[in-house]
């Protein structure tokens, strides 16, 4: 079984935000919820680099470890999903996540946040695949249709790669060897306890 991962090539990412709006478009994600975002360091200075960030679907996901209602589960493709019918919006996962992925629809009285939302790797949720109820709660289920996450598919410079971890690592490794530079598979050690050596 494939082990799905994300890999963002920081030497290719130009912060065009296609990944962000592709996600919005595919899942009709409302204003204020950002399943994916682009982070830029050294903005406006030499050494400026951008990374597209979302839930990395970690190995032994920390969010799952801290969830008091055990709403997280990992699919056979190693995609980390959660059940919104169980989620109580406590926000523990937000504190546990090394990537700041969990999103909440509101900040209300007494810290109520609403059901947590995050990147599903375009794999929907626990509802039946490709149904209205699944779409409404979690968004589209491209994995069930045999497609990959739209953010990576639409990445303008093909910086953001999604797919089987071995395959995208190979693509990245070959790219780095050919061009002679590469700042590494950002976040991999944290998320997957591995890295890509080129």
């Amino acid at each position: 079984m494939a082990r799905m991962k994300f890999l963002c090539d920081a030497d290719r990412c130009i912060e065009c935000n296609a990944c962000v709006t592709a996600c919005k478009n595919e899942h009709e994600v409302p204003w204020g919820i950002n399943r994916r975002r682009v982070v830029t360091i050294n903005d406006g200075r030499p050494g400026e680099r951008s990374i597209s960030m979302a839930c990395m679907h970690c190995t032994d996901a920390p969010c799952a470890a801290v969830c008091p209602v055990s709403c997280f589960y990992t699919t056979a493709d190693a995609i980390v999903l959660h059940d919104k019918d169980l989620c109580i919006g406590c926000g523990y996962c937000f504190y546990a996540c090394p990537f700041g992925a969990p999103q909440y629809p509101r900040v209300g009285n007494f810290g109520g946040r609403g059901k947590m939302d995050k990147c599903t790797y375009c794999a929907g949720g626990p509802q039946q695949d490709n149904t209205l109820v699944e779409y409404t709660q979690y968004g589209a289920n491209r994995i069930a249709e045999g497609k990959l996450p739209l953010c990576a598919e639409m990445c303008s410079t093909k910086a953001l790669l999604a797919g089987d971890g071995e395959m995208i690592a190979t693509i990245y490794r070959e790219r780095v060897q050919r061009r002679g530079y590469g700042s590494g598979a950002w976040g991999w050690r944290t998320a997957y306890r591995t890295t890509v050596n080129a």
Binding site: R12, I14, E15, C16, Y135, T157
Partner: protein
């Protein structure tokens, strides 16, 4: 980074339902609590559905029902000029999803933020929904019939009182080719040359500059071909934000060839962040930088001497000017160290092929045309034109700005750059099936037919200046604006006064645009909802001259109508209005007689066939709708780098270049493959090869202007030759290779031109002349030299001229701008304005420049209305260097006032303190509108059509200053002051 992108905590508080009615100023605590309460009630009503999807559940637009068929339709992104294919999934007439188009050789599935969110445009609740007019200052809904009839009546009233030249027709780079052509034809039938579009304010100087150098005003190579380059200079452009998908090719080239990627710009852009070398220059010093590079090239003998000898005229005059730009002088004027420019020069001249990429930073200058000419000369001197990996890769701005330029939305030409002289009018009259005399009668006077109109950058002057200073019967009285923003032209305070003074203002657009709210009009102002290109079919020409066919995805939404339909209806309404006034002029019958009319509108296919019959000069003649549709159908058969259809492609497209990049010679049946790379002598003309176009005479000062010993592959003439005419065919003994039918057509055309010998490759409607020339391996337009010296321009050899509002008044005496003059029916001030610079500089010491953001496009009304984009960029801002900010006590994210030296202009924006701009330089994006001089104008939009995000327009601050050749506006160098608000 307070104001960029998703601004963490605060963005989170803005619920989907909460943004309606907000101004760019954000939300105060009170209004936030109010809207949060409303959202809560909505959630409660939707029990069982997770609150975050409440909005999606209401619209359910993204849901696929997999049990029912999904139709996939291909169209093109309507934003920049890269030409990305958009694949739409349509179910039950609703656009439910966007899928990557892997097979497109241009974008290979990818998009930028804008392209990945275009589906929103046809769901957008911020669209203009029905025709409206201002009644006593209030927007009122009206029917299409009433709108058409009232508009036509007012147009005819203006025509009767002031003549046809008092109506201004502003067209659009968002038109399809067919829409653009139809609009140009309409304006010709109206009887004026006042027709323009966005090319005026983006690449008019490029078109003028490169056309005056080697023949055609277009990108010579393609985005894909940049993969072949070993050195690329990107100067005055930020494609990482303006053309993100182009970076796929640029970065691939950089990686595969380990190419040098040099970015020359006053601003350390997102493109510069990926460069191997970044050169920071003082804004407005492009020519000294180029001459500084050439100085090293000539000094070291790195120029391509054989190329210059065979294919370039006048390089010696360039040498004389370049000799003045030694490294010390270049550093004094531009701020660039000599050693760095030497490194750049060596890479560009010796690590070939090299390409030069430019955009608005080059063109939007008082010296725009001269800049372009200098860039072209650098390419010529190093022999970097007309081969793979080389060339002037001019990235154009809008999805069809190339096509709209090609079809003559320009005050100076009829479609396909035929110009405005009698031969041109006779040619197009013949194509349209009307008499030349009947067309001439439509104009105010016969002279006006050949007189270029007033460029869109100066419409306000044509309204406001005293009548005797505008060389036509009367001032402008009415404006018909199709698909053009009102905040993209400089001097907005004066534009506001001009719009107030008009008798009639018509805005035909999917959105109200700034034209609907900038002014204080109370009557005679109409908004017409126009369908986007996703709601109609047609072809569009991307920057690399590839023409792509977009298929309608959904029917026009709300009461929107297509451009084709509205023009047809307006023509009929004008006929009725003329009849009511007993005027003899008529439109609809003659204009539309060649077209198939289906469902009340002409089909784009039939319009394109008329284009095929007339646009020989740019080689649109071979680009039939059938061929284009086949290309879209078999996109996967084209090579990524050469764009050529591979051997496994179906026979009817095999060997074609993708999108038949013009020139695609002859008739469609002749199956010319298009020309991927212009002026490429390494290929035969029948395979897309070519030569420089001799359009400036045959000799000058005793030196030939025809190529010497250079010719395209397999040419029967192994030297230079002039353009093909019947006379030339006869001299070469090739005349009898024309068929009898071709000869008959030519003879008939010759009667209007004073003899068949004068019929040329451009005016021969049979295509025979082109066919015979190509059969002998010759370019129909001839084989000439490119011009390093363009003697018909104000500066034949480009020379440095300080900006009108310069931060270096000490250089004015040595490098003054041009004296005051006249042009395009208007006065054109130069030195008299520049003379104020020393005084202005004391009070406005910061150089102001402007540019694009990736999330928005053009005037931004469409993209700021798209909630997926608007969320990413919620505030207008000014980039200011930390040193300047510290001196003014300005903190990052704080409100500031930016003030300009004309019209007491001011803008309230947020400060983005960053080293991206150098000390003494400020940058503002140009996509914002809806705030004007500190006033929030949201209430002035018709209800429900206000863009999500509003903000001050940079062009409220920008100032006077025009290129002498095209009246391009100066938006890149002016002066301003910034202080904390």
């Amino acid at each position: 980074m307070l104001i960029k992108r998703s601004d963490g905590a605060r963005a989170k508080q803005r619920l989907a339902s909460a943004y309606q009615g907000l101004s760019a100023g954000g939300m105060d605590r009170r209004s936030f609590l109010k809207t949060a309460g409303l959202a809560g009630a909505g959630v409660a009503a939707l029990a069982g559905i997770a609150p975050r999807m409440a909005e999606a559940a209401g619209a359910a637009t993204g849901v696929h029902d997999l049990s029912r068929p999904i139709q996939r339709v291909k169209n093109l992104c309507t934003h920049c000029s890269v030409g990305c294919t958009v694949t739409a999934e349509v179910q039950n007439g609703v656009w439910v999803g966007q899928e990557p188009t892997w097979e497109s050789p241009i974008n290979r599935g990818t998009h930028c933020a804008k392209g990945a969110s275009v589906r929103e445009l046809v769901h957008g609740d911020r669209r203009l929904k029905y025709p409206m007019k201002l009644v006593n200052g209030q927007w009122q809904r009206i029917t299409w019939d009433v709108a058409m009839s009232e508009i036509a009546d007012r147009m005819m009233a203006i025509r009767a009182a002031s003549g046809p030249d008092s109506v201004y027709w502003l067209g659009s780079a968002k038109f399809s080719n067919e829409g653009a052509y139809l609009f140009r034809k309409f304006v010709a039938f109206w009887g004026t040359n006042h027709v323009d579009h966005q090319a005026r304010i983006c690449h008019s100087t490029t078109v003028a500059g490169v056309a005056n150098t080697w023949g055609y005003g277009a990108q010579t190579n393609s985005y894909n071909d940049i993969r072949n380059s070993k050195t690329m200079i990107i100067m005055g452009g930020n494609p990482a934000e303006a053309h993100p998908v182009s970076l796929q090719h640029v970065l691939s080239g950089k990686e595969i060839n380990r190419a040098n990627m040099i970015v020359i710009d006053p601003r350390y852009t997102r493109t510069a962040a990926h460069a191997t070398e970044y050169v920071r220059i003082r804004p407005g010093t492009d020519i000294p930088v180029i001459w500084g590079i050439l100085w090293h090239i000539f000094e070291n003998g790195w120029e391509d001497k054989e190329f210059i000898r065979q294919r370039v005229y006048g390089m010696d005059e360039i040498r004389a000017e370049v000799a003045k730009w030694n490294p010390q002088e270049v550093e004094r004027v531009t701020g660039v160290p000599g050693a760095q420019l030497r490194r750049v020069a060596e890479m560009f001249a010796t690590q070939k092929p090299s390409t030069l990429i430019w955009c608005m930073g080059t063109t939007q200058k008082t010296v725009g045309t001269a800049n372009v000419r200098a860039y072209s000369v650098l390419l010529l001197a190093t022999g970097n034109v007309g081969a793979e990996g080389t060339g002037a890769n001019i990235f154009r701005g809008h999805c069809n700005v190339q096509g709209a330029s090609d079809f003559g939305l320009d005050v100076g030409t009829l479609p396909a750059y035929y110009g405005l002289d009698e031969t041109a009018w006779r040619h197009w009259s013949r194509v349209w099936g009307v008499s030349f005399e009947s067309m001439r009668a439509r104009f105010d006077t016969p002279q006006m037919m050949n007189t270029p109109g007033i460029p869109s950058t100066r419409y306000m002057d044509a309204v406001l200046l005293p009548k005797d200073q505008v060389q036509q019967r009367d001032n402008l009285k009415g404006m018909i604006v199709f698909g053009h923003g009102g905040n993209t032209v400089t001097r907005m305070p004066e534009a506001q006064r001009a719009l107030d003074a008009l008798d009639l203002l018509v805005v035909a657009d999917p959105h109200p645009t700034t034209f609907a709210v900038l002014h204080n009009r109370r009557e005679n102002t109409y908004l017409l909802p126009i369908a986007t290109q996703f709601e109609c079919s047609g072809s569009r020409t991307s920057s690399n001259r590839s023409v792509q066919w977009g298929e309608k995805i959904v029917n026009p939404i709300f009461e929107s109508r297509t451009d084709y339909r509205v023009m047809f209806d307006l023509a009929k309404a004008l006929d009725a209005a003329a009849q009511r006034r007993n005027m003899t002029i008529r439109f609809a019958e003659d204009m539309f007689k060649h077209y198939d009319i289906q469902n009340g509108e002409p089909t784009p296919e039939s319009i394109l066939r008329e284009i095929n019959r007339g646009a020989w000069g740019t080689g649109y003649s071979g680009i039939s709708p059938e061929r284009l549709k086949l290309h879209m159908q078999h996109q996967d058969k084209f090579d990524l780098v050469t764009l050529r259809a591979k051997p496994d492609a179906p026979a009817e497209i095999r060997g074609d270049y993708y999108g038949l990049p013009w020139p695609c010679w002859g008739t469609p049946e002749q199956r010319h493959p298009g020309s991927h790379i212009l002026y490429n002598t390494n290929l035969a003309v029948k395979d897309g090869g070519g030569t420089f176009r001799p359009r400036f005479g045959l000799e000058r000062n005793g030196v030939t202007l025809l190529a010497e010993g250079s010719y395209s592959k397999d040419s029967d003439i192994r030297d230079g030759y002039p353009e093909f005419t019947v006379a030339l065919l006869k001299r070469l003994g090739w005349y009898d290779e024309l068929t009898a039918a071709e000869k008959a057509t030519i003879a008939e055309i010759g009667q209007g031109l004073g003899g068949e010998d004068r019929v040329s490759w451009m005016t021969d409607l049979s295509g025979g002349i082109q066919r015979v020339a190509i059969a002998h391996g010759c370019s129909p337009f001839g084989n000439g030299k490119a011009r390093a010296v363009a003697w018909n321009l104000p500066d034949p050899v480009p020379v440095h001229r300080e900006p009108i509002y310069t931060a270096r008044p000490d250089l004015i005496a040595q490098y003054p701008t041009l004296p005051d003059r006249r042009g395009f029916r208007l006065p054109h001030l130069g030195q008299s304005v520049q003379a104020r610079s020393p005084e202005v500089f004391r009070n406005f010491p910061i150089i102001l420049t402007s540019g694009r953001l990736v999330e928005y496009e053009g005037g931004g009304e469409e993209t700021r209305s798209n909630k997926w984009l608007a969320e990413l960029q919620q505030d207008m801002f000014v980039e200011i260097n930390p040193a300047d900010a510290a001196a003014r006590n300005i903190r990052d994210g704080a409100w500031v006032w930016v003030t300009g030296p004309e019209n007491n202009s001011r803008a309230r924006v947020k400060a983005l303190v960053t080293e991206r701009v150098g000390p003494g330089v400020a940058f503002m994006p140009f996509h914002f509108a809806g705030w004007f001089m500190g006033e929030d104008q949201r209430r002035k939009y018709p209800q429900g059509t206000d863009p999500v995000v509003l903000g001050e327009s940079v062009n409220a601050i920008t100032t006077y200053g025009y290129d002498p050749v095209t009246f391009m506006q100066e938006t890149k160098v002016t002066l301003c002051q910034i202080r904390a608000a």
